[in-house]
Symmetry: D2
Subunit: 280 residues, 4 copies
Amino acid sequence: MCRWLAYSGSPVLLEDLLFKPENSLVMQSKHSRLGVEPINGDGFGVGWYGALETPGIYHSIEPAWNDRNLRELSAQASAGRVFAHIRATTGTAVQQTNCHPFRHDRWLWMHNGAIADFSSVKRDLTLAVDAALFPDIEGSTDSEIFFFLALTFGLQADPPSAVARAVALIEEVGRRHGVEQPIQMTVATTDGDTTWAFRYSSEGRSRSLFHSADISTLRLQYPDNDVLQELSDDARLVVSEPLGDLQGAWVEVPESTCLIVHAGQEELREFSPLLVSTPK
Amino acid sequence: MCRWLAYSGSPVLLEDLLFKPENSLVMQSKHSRLGVEPINGDGFGVGWYGALETPGIYHSIEPAWNDRNLRELSAQASAGRVFAHIRATTGTAVQQTNCHPFRHDRWLWMHNGAIADFSSVKRDLTLAVDAALFPDIEGSTDSEIFFFLALTFGLQADPPSAVARAVALIEEVGRRHGVEQPIQMTVATTDGDTTWAFRYSSEGRSRSLFHSADISTLRLQYPDNDVLQELSDDARLVVSEPLGDLQGAWVEVPESTCLIVHAGQEELREFSPLLVSTPK
Amino acid sequence: MCRWLAYSGSPVLLEDLLFKPENSLVMQSKHSRLGVEPINGDGFGVGWYGALETPGIYHSIEPAWNDRNLRELSAQASAGRVFAHIRATTGTAVQQTNCHPFRHDRWLWMHNGAIADFSSVKRDLTLAVDAALFPDIEGSTDSEIFFFLALTFGLQADPPSAVARAVALIEEVGRRHGVEQPIQMTVATTDGDTTWAFRYSSEGRSRSLFHSADISTLRLQYPDNDVLQELSDDARLVVSEPLGDLQGAWVEVPESTCLIVHAGQEELREFSPLLVSTPK
Amino acid sequence: MCRWLAYSGSPVLLEDLLFKPENSLVMQSKHSRLGVEPINGDGFGVGWYGALETPGIYHSIEPAWNDRNLRELSAQASAGRVFAHIRATTGTAVQQTNCHPFRHDRWLWMHNGAIADFSSVKRDLTLAVDAALFPDIEGSTDSEIFFFLALTFGLQADPPSAVARAVALIEEVGRRHGVEQPIQMTVATTDGDTTWAFRYSSEGRSRSLFHSADISTLRLQYPDNDVLQELSDDARLVVSEPLGDLQGAWVEVPESTCLIVHAGQEELREFSPLLVSTPK
């Protein structure tokens, strides 16, 4: 499986997110605490919103802990919206086009989990992707097909609904192929402004997901913590696993939930698949 | 575009094919004489039939001229059937899963040329691939989809017919999408025993293709040429461009031709697309 | 050999330097017009001064024309001082630690040319590097040893003198080993503020070197050229070969010259090796 | 640190050594049981003696568990002498020239451990390398310098003595620089015929080292074990850690020992550093 983080708030250096925390994402690439597998060494990706509308993407097939270019980039680039992902492949090739986050226009997408028995259902799911979007599929992962299904179902207009429809299709196609638990997922997506994160699995026992607690409260609680003093009030992290052991800093996102982070506010909504008769 | 070679004959060290000739394939990766583009630096691949039924594959995204592992492998491995390919991408990503030759069971496939306007026709062509084969598609190139179409149309039973049907489908789908000249190709495929090579293009002006002349005649003609003395009588090369300037050593394959090389014999057959109403 | 560019002026996006010009550095990586070798596909590097004192470095062993991360980085990062270099190896390994520009503290260094018969003189030159600096040598190139010699001779205090002493040592050691023309070079170095560029060779026929002409004059001359209108008055480029054909835009740097670019002013000084009895 | 294996015996497919055992070297790259660090993901190398005098080398900076070319090569190449190594860097760059085994003519060398405080002693040790060998140093590791010191002290004539001299020099130089425990090592070297393995550390608590027990005895003990039935009587493995849990199959090599494997016989000799006044 994989690990990821999604940051929004005042601009920070990427290295403050990726390298400096005690249990940073790069540290998790070698020694994940909560992952199914402690090592996430099958590629890395970061997407960041800099000066342009379109986010930058850095994808690498080296383990994150060895990548000097990542270290350099992280020391130079700062951004107010950052997605980062470390990959542990469930079988598909280790290549840049299979690294998360995936991008479409202004949108980023990343996924921890899997579409079960993907080789059985891949064809049917691929055919459900909008024909106009089809040529933009570049890699071979379940996660990218999932992204293109969500785009097909209107991700850019209504993310929770589009993801709910994509998940329903994945479950329906999976069950038609005899797969009992077709999907396991935490997903994050953003347009550079709002972040939507989803925790769901067909079996109801989903991968872990956390968001950071209110920074201003934490700041009062830990007056000597430099990191907290520097972050803006609206800074929020959504993560696969906490970046450190600070008491009260992390709030678990419940099962079957969509978390929406916007302007320093979190909103939690119940999430369930939404079956529609005909895609698009 | 790309360059390739297909060897059959007595076992030779790979380096005798890839590095030693005056205009070797590795030399062509930097300075192709007949290619559309002099540089073929977007990946490399070699497939060779060693002791096993299934050929070995070495795929690399480094330019061939820099790849030390290729040089080492070529100095150690010898084989009686060798396919090698240097890639100049027409747009798809440079990654190992996009390197030729592609493999399916005992079969290898490589292609120089392109399916025109591939992004427009990719979806229709992908859907025509047999559902059972679909999950084995690993990369994103036109060449691999072409291979899977040929497999769908019975490559393993009757290669000339399967390729003729695949080409017909590509032309039909292309024209339906307003593409005037849907395909440009030289293709080689083998089961490790017989080699089939095809030269064809919708416009009737195809990429160059040559096969080596009869070795025994050449040997008499050039008694001092060491390379020729060592090769077995049945040794044959099929190549995108000659590996050297030896007079009489290379015979051009005509337009719209299928060349079959087996047991040191060449057979030339006319090749034309074969339209069938329903795939498979 | 190699190709490089050094930019100073108002902050520009890296892609405006590396990708957009007609004969951009990335274009030169495939089709250099003035280089000894048209292809410079053996690695790439860019150093840029962003928000920090220390410049960022991006080194890659993929050909520049294929590197998606370079394209992404170049679209996001802007800087007022940029060094970029494409490599055509003269024999040493293609690895990130052999990519230019090399960095030491705030300083960058890049080189086109070669120390002749490097394997004969490498040991003596390596031993002349200051013992305190020695452990920081990471790669195996002549260019990096040259940098460390210049650092040993006081590059950070007086660049022209330090380079003159390093060149004198290289020539002296080379001649002691029977090398007739020990060095061929264009070199650029910077502390992020001033750029020093050197054109010199033992044989007096050095690789090409140019700097851009005064921008304000060019702007008057070409009122419709958008690129020129956007650049600040103090913007200057020093390059191995012109980035385009704009009449009057490029001034050749004479043989045996040190060019100093600072605050939009060029200064040309004669350059000759400076032999000192004992290093340091 | 690292993990390695050295095989000698009847020719076997590389995959039988690298992939098939329960605790194979590739498995150890992700989950080493006895290593200082469970992950050895910083490069991989294999050297094998095929048809030629000179062994082939495959070096990769991808983690071994992801490397498809390694899997292909291992399925095709068989050899009677194989060295394989997975690397966990102690700081130097992850690049092919830093991957073990290192090669010089017919000789291979690989090392688990470290020269302590290498950056302090690197210059003195590098200067002790024979001037004629110096240009062949390609990487930046302590292990390669150690190899070149052993070559300098006559590895090809008398391996135990050359290694003893090299170790003595490393300890002497280290202590001169205030290093208390200058070396930690298990080392293997071979000329393709005999294998010499060394277990030693300045502190007397060395990394683990094992050799396989007599195959014919094991075969009687485990009549149903297919692997054992196929190996020749003279087959021997020397390894950093056992490749499985077979009772009686592995014999620990004592501290401060040189193990010599030749023609199916093991010889154990005491090993201690051998100080000589002047190198060479």
